[in-house]
Symmetry: C2
Subunit: 312 residues, 2 copies
């Protein structure tokens, strides 16, 4: 059984297991595990590992349209070197600070392979806080969260934040031994502020951690809809374009939409709301296609459900 089949099984058992995070009483909770052989290429610093691992969980909070409040991590390694551990904690703290969350500690475990388990906690903005300062109690703000994967409607457009291919470019930099640049690329900004800005408008949302292609299939499954994507609208990260300058354009596009690990947001919204979304979002929002009744296509051809299988 592969990971997706297993997740489907978990999903049958557990409410909302298909979303990026669970929601319990207004709290958003999500957990991930990353490890050396599949997630941290040779050359990844412990600072970057701390940033990236905690960032991956914060990205799941962002994908729910929630505020990020706190994160914890388990650091598992064959031995605990002071400098490594402090660097990891510094990376974890810095990525939390970047999104207004607090890194509040964790646990240590001996493990043959360097392995990190991270958990992020968030809070769904429910508009109830606004009544404290507002005067119009009879008309509370609408409930704006959480944003699930299941609300996309034909007629909406589908958008991505930022650009795709940053982690694919980082891998290439690691392969070339350009570790400093690779580490820079590996430390992404979780889109928490963007998720909050988009949440009042988005009909469905998730992050692109498994790649745009797979994300679209997952949104399509959850929302019982399809997507019609136009390849020339897909925003490709400058670094991917640079490292792959001699590659055929189709291969670069393929890497951008299937490599994943970019932790951008993929969301659907009505066309009428686009101007408000663009005004509110602190990063670029690009429309890559339309929500349709069925089938996931790119340039009118079927788009395969291929992407990065975490931990595979």
């Amino acid at each position: 059984m592969n990971e997706r089949a297993a997740l489907t099984l978990l999903g049958d058992e557990l409410a909302h297991a298909g979303d990026d995070a669970a929601v319990v009483g207004g709290q958003v909770l999500t957990t991930d595990m990353l490890h050396e052989t599949t997630d941290f290429p040779e050359g990844t610093t412990r600072y970057t590992a701390g940033w990236r691992a905690v960032g991956a969980s914060l990205s799941d909070v962002a994908a729910m349209g929630a505020e990020a409040t706190a994160a914890v991590a388990v650091y598992a390694a064959p031995a605990f070197d002071d400098d490594d551990l402090l660097a990891f904690v510094a990376g974890a703290q810095d990525v939390c600070e970047r999104v207004g969350a607090r890194y509040v500690g964790g646990d240590l475990d001996h493990h043959a392979e360097f392995t990190v388990a991270t958990t992020a906690l968030g809070r769904v903005p429910d508009g109830s806080g606004a009544t404290d300062s507002g005067t119009d109690d009879a008309s509370p703000l609408p409930d704006v969260g959480p944003v699930r994967r299941s609300g996309a409607r034909p007629g909406d457009v589908v958008c991505v934040t930022g650009s795709l291919g940053r982690s694919a470019a980082a891998l290439e930099r690691f392969d070339r031994g350009e570790d400093d640049r690779a580490n820079d690329l590996f430390r992404f900004d979780p889109r928490v502020a963007t998720g909050l800005a988009v949440a009042p408008h988005a009909s469905a949302m998730m992050d692109s951690s498994d790649g745009l292609a797979r994300s679209l299939h997952q949104l399509a499954d959850a929302s019982d809809c399809g997507f019609a994507i136009e390849s020339d609208r897909v925003p490709i990260h400058d670094e991917l374009a640079a490292v792959a300058a001699t590659e055929p354009a189709d291969d670069v596009l393929e890497a951008a939409i299937t490599f994943g690990e970019d932790f951008e947001l993929v969301f659907t919204v009505s066309r009428d709301d686009l101007p408000d979304v663009r005004t509110a979002a602190p990063v670029d929002v690009t429309v890559v296609g339309d929500v349709v009744d069925a089938d996931v296509t790119m340039d009118d051809r079927s788009l395969a459900d291929e992407g990065y299988d975490h931990g595979g």
Copy 2:
């Protein structure tokens, strides 16, 4: 650097890292990692593994005197067998149900060794909920949580819940191939209800996951005090007494106080509050000694800071 030194290092960096769980805005968050070679003896069922791993995190919530609200887990294994995974989830759900929490899902990861990372979320009871139903708004309930490790005062007594040695007995049953009984013993009840009942009275609290001896040293360090324990007051689990019937009494006592993994609560309270604590707590509460100015002793001899080094 061993685990305790590393945790001390984390503690220097992070507020409250010494407690069983972090507290952020009234939410209590804690995470742990368990794995096959050190935590799940041969014969441990996946149902028991799910129960025990999630239970360990719920015990940390209990040790803060908090309500347990939710838990998540990462299940990492070389392959994902349907029956194994469903059994794990069932165990995780059942232990959550036992304490009024919800198991809300998790993540899967491929890993050479069966490894589980668990996170539990709790809520500190702050008495504010009581004002909704009460009429005496001018006299709100006292803030009863969280209970930290740092409040023990000379003159208080030190108590443990339930009895010690259950996991040590389980290990012996596993060694004998008595897996059914061993699995039963391995599935403990996290002391969430007891933690909540004790919280309004306790000056310091933690769980006994590293053994009573080490817990006392950790409370002593955090509270800048000592403990004087009387060995004949230490409550020893019937099963440990049974499996070790032919062992010298000193060895049985040693196992009970150093093996750990019992997930009982160790707390300090003023002697005057003992009757109220005993009335409120749904399990037996045993006074094992006194809080003193300095030094951790048992029967007036120094008690070594020895215990189970998780992941060691």
